[in-house]
């Protein structure tokens, strides 16, 4: 349904939509970061990642109920989520990599099943109602002339680049980071260099899962969530990772912002109810228009 009245390209709606889009994009990039590592770098199609983000959000929600600050809660959650990621990778690799290479069909199915099980466990423990967190610093809005930015969007949008920057620096500047980026292609070379590819992948999967709790904190600050909210993120996070060029973290920030802006424009000028389909449409168009490029990148 079109928005009521004439569609006005009034400047303040446009500016607000653009800024909201950039901030949303920043949060989406945080959501996609873990997937950029597992799918983009390790080539493990972890479709459970958005659900792990939701699990992270519920972790933050639980601590926030006891009065813990959500950002602090996310930092507390890094270690348990890292360990959860390590456990998931061990489960995955015990099953498939030992069988002589993971079969895409089987690993996709496994993560699909895991994601459902996590969702249901969340629903059974927290119920299906929407849950949110409230802190003093995300209540009101920042007003700058015609611009109105709610703090509940601004704070997470500033939190996200910090985490993304930290992970990016880790991956590009440290030896372990370099090994992680090389592990999918140069497994043999790493073994020769005395590094254990399995333990590098396990570590990378742990980091990827740890990012989910920070992304979850960002997500639950932006708006309320329920156990099945992850399905609406799947299109977004995969669009970001795939179109950015698998594993490119700066690229994923750019694509995430493009998606955020597109959604904000669709919400402002068309109807918010259309926005869940936007990322998916972008993904499909991208896949259809640049299949060779993606194919090359995925190798």
């Amino acid at each position: 349904m079109l928005a009521q009245g004439p569609i006005m390209l009034s400047i303040d709606i446009l500016v607000n939509a653009l800024v909201t889009g950039i901030l949303l994009g920043s949060v989406y990039a945080a959501l996609a970061l873990g997937l950029a590592i597992t799918f983009g770098i390790l080539h493990i199609p972890n479709i459970a990642h958005p659900t792990l983000v939701i699990a992270g959000a519920f972790f933050v929600y639980t601590l926030a109920q006891w009065g813990v600050d959500p950002i602090l809660a996310a930092l507390v959650g890094l270690v348990p989520f890292y360990l959860l990621g390590v456990a998931l990778y061990l489960f995955y690799s015990r099953l498939f990599e030992r069988r002589g290479g993971a079969n895409v069909l089987q690993s996709l199915t496994l993560f699909f099943g895991l994601s459902l099980v996590i969702e249901i466990l969340l629903a059974l423990s927290f119920g299906s109602e929407l849950k949110s967190v409230n802190v003093f610093y995300i209540g009101s809005s920042l007003r700058l002339g015609i611009l109105t930015i709610p703090y509940r969007l601004l704070i997470p949008a500033l939190l996200a680049p910090v985490m993304i920057g930290a992970v990016w620096l880790y991956l590009s500047r440290t030896n372990t980071g370099t090994a992680i980026r090389a592990v999918a292609h140069e497994e043999r070379a790493l073994s020769i260099a005395g590094l254990n590819p399995a333990s590098i992948k396990r570590h990378a999967f742990g980091i990827a899962t740890a990012t989910a709790v920070v992304a979850g904190a960002a997500l639950i600050m932006v708006g309320p969530i329920e156990p099945f909210s992850g399905r609406f993120q799947i299109g977004r996070v995969f669009a970001i990772v795939v179109l950015a060029g698998m594993g490119s973290i700066p690229g994923s920030l750019v694509i995430a912002i493009v998606i955020g802006i597109s959604e904000a424009l669709v919400s402002s000028y068309l109807n918010p109810s259309w926005s869940p389909g936007v990322a998916f449409a972008i993904l499909l168009l991208g896949l259809a228009l640049r299949p060779q490029g993606l194919f090359g990148a995925a190798r």
């Binding site: 699909f112 459902l116 869940p276 449409a281 995925a298």
Partner: protein
């Protein structure tokens, strides 16, 4: 025609005749009400397996195809007054077109992208339905189905028979695909796409064909659903459990032949129907999810292969 094919067709004919006669013997309509759902899942699992099992391309969006069938059929019936068989046919054609479209957009690259694209399909179709008031939007709308004809004692029995015909057609189609050159080509694609292409198999065209056939069956499975429930709403038409069952049933039964999905659907759907009385739909999903993980992890060939192995061992 081979001896096996004749036996198969005779079997299908017997099942169909029983399906027409049973409603006059078994008086309680509840059995048919429950049987409908089991047959619906036989159809869904069979349709999913044409692409997922034979060609190895996983479709997470079965609920999208199913829901598309639900909405198209209800729309054609209520607004245009098309007869039921035409509604089902139209739903199947629509599902085939949807499958072709998804396939055309994503199949030229690796299978993993196809799978990811199908994950989003449900969200997109649900978004579209939410925004079309003529389809009832988010809250849904009541649908008054056709009256049962003279040869059926009641609406539940009639819906059951309609679903049985669709299921029988789906299984026959799947078996035809499986034993023909199409099936051999698809299995080659599943094993190695490059080697298949270099053996003369037109891999892209075969995959598109499989997408279309699979989509058609999945949408046809949804076509009678609005008349079965007399109500359609996005939540049930695009239900999570449909997408999950579509994958779990073939994987549990075995994906290599048409028997697997039928077996898996009969088993799992019956358990679910018996259990719905006692457990919540959430526990149902949890149960199916865990069973799915267990099979992927420990018995990727499904029940068909487990039985097969046991038989072979017994013989040798």
């Amino acid at each position: 025609m081979t001896k096996n094919s004749i036996l198969f067709l005779v079997g299908i004919a017997i099942v169909l005749v029983l399906g027409f006669l049973m409603p006059w013997v078994l008086k309680n309509p509840f059995y048919f009400f429950v049987g409908y759902v089991v047959l619906q899942y036989v159809t869904i699992a069979t349709g999913w397996n044409i692409l997922g099992g034979y060609a190895g391309y996983i479709n997470f969006g079965a609920a999208g195809f199913f829901g598309a069938g639900v909405y198209l059929s209800a729309f054609l019936f209520t607004t245009l007054g098309l007869p039921l068989p035409l509604c089902i046919l139209a739903a199947a054609i629509f599902g085939a077109v949807l499958g072709l479209l998804m396939g055309y957009l994503t199949l030229r690259i690796q299978g993993v992208y196809f799978a990811i694209a199908t994950l989003g399909l449900v969200v997109v179709l649900e978004t579209i339905v939410h925004n079309i008031p003529a389809l009832g939007g988010a809250s849904g709308m009541a649908v008054y189905g056709p009256r049962q004809p003279f040869w059926s004692p009641g609406p539940s029995q009639f819906n059951f028979t309609v679903m049985l015909i669709i299921a029988a057609a789906a299984v026959t189609l799947a078996r035809f695909v499986e034993i023909s050159w199409i099936g051999r080509g698809l299995r080659a694609v599943r094993a190695s796409e490059d080697a298949a292409e270099c053996s003369g198999v037109p891999t892209l065209r075969l995959k598109l064909l499989a997408c279309a056939l699979s989509g058609a069956v999945l949408a046809a499975a949804g076509a009678p659903y609005p008349f079965y429930t007399s109500y359609m709403e996005p939540v049930t038409a695009f239900s999570l459990i449909i997408g999950l069952n579509a994958i779990a049933m073939p994987l549990i039964g075995g994906t290599r032949s048409w028997v697997g999905p039928v077996l898996g659907a009969l088993l799992l759907a019956s358990v679910q129907q018996i259990a719905t009385v006692t457990i919540s739909s959430e526990l149902n999903i949890l149960f199916v999810g865990l069973v799915l993980i267990a099979f992927v992890a420990f018995a990727p060939g499904g029940l068909a292969e487990l039985f097969g192995r046991k038989q072979r061992r017994a013989r040798s």
